[in-house]
């Protein structure tokens, strides 16, 4: 099955391109990015801070049902044009990786469909590859934790 989300990560480059077409009007897609409650829902996270304005900050964290910190990220909105673009910085403090610069472009394809292009710039090609490997590493971690839980129950 073909993925709706496409990732272009050319070898040796410090950038990444994520594209996705949505079955949504561009206004609706943009709303999912500017509305605090909606953003929390689809990202599956908790927003501690969310100031959608020029140089406004945002900070979110995701905790396990037990309350352990799983994921946390923060950054600042630099500029935006409604239904067109957002420029923001982003830093995942749990991974201690340097901040990245993100250019989000929103484009109407038809009245009912739209396309999002995320252009992300990293400090170096190595940092980009580090980040790309993270979900892979998290997947392994989670499998490991599950195994640990099962073993704990047995003992």
């Amino acid at each position: 099955m073909e993925h709706k989300t496409k990732i272009i990560a050319e070898e040796g480059k410090q950038e990444l391109l994520i594209t996705r077409e949505f079955d949504l009007p561009v206004e609706s897609l943009f709303t999912a990015y500017k509305d605090k409650e909606l953003f929390e829902k689809w990202m599956g996270t908790n927003l501690l801070q969310f100031e959608f304005k020029e140089y406004g900050n945002y900070h979110f964290e995701t905790r396990s049902p037990k309350g352990d910190l799983m994921f946390s990220g923060k950054g600042a909105f630099h500029t935006y044009i409604p239904n067109e673009m957002i420029v923001r910085t982003f830093e995942m403090d749990v991974f201690s990786l340097p901040p990245q610069l993100e250019f989000l472009n929103f484009k109407a394809l038809t009245g009912e469909t739209s396309k999002l292009t995320m252009h992300i710039i990293f400090k170096s090609p190595e940092i980009r590859d580090e980040l790309l490997k993270k979900p892979f590493a998290i997947g392994l971690d989670m499998a490991h934790n599950r195994l640990e839980n099962i073993l704990r129950k047995i003992n």
Partner: protein
Amino acid sequence: MKLRRDVFQAIADPTRRGIISLVALQALTPTAIAENFDYSRQTISKHIQILTECELLEQEQNGREIYYHLNPKGMKDIADFIEPFRNLWDDRFDKLETLMKKHQSKS
């Protein structure tokens, strides 16, 4: 026993990326590969060894010469590293789409 090296570490080096681009076009002997670089034959041999250990290059004996060619399986492994990242975003965007469809019909 040789340590299985990190594929990402292998392709992080510009010389090794250069070697990959060269052998992607055609199978080459170590001498032919080294001719394309200003480094010593030993340095290039070391890079070739690392790429081979990571299974990005494969050896092929042809008469008295050893030829190196690209291992498509190894290159696919690199692409597979991106898969979990793509899946992560695909899931998030699927949620966004479902959520906003509901939100639209409400308003």
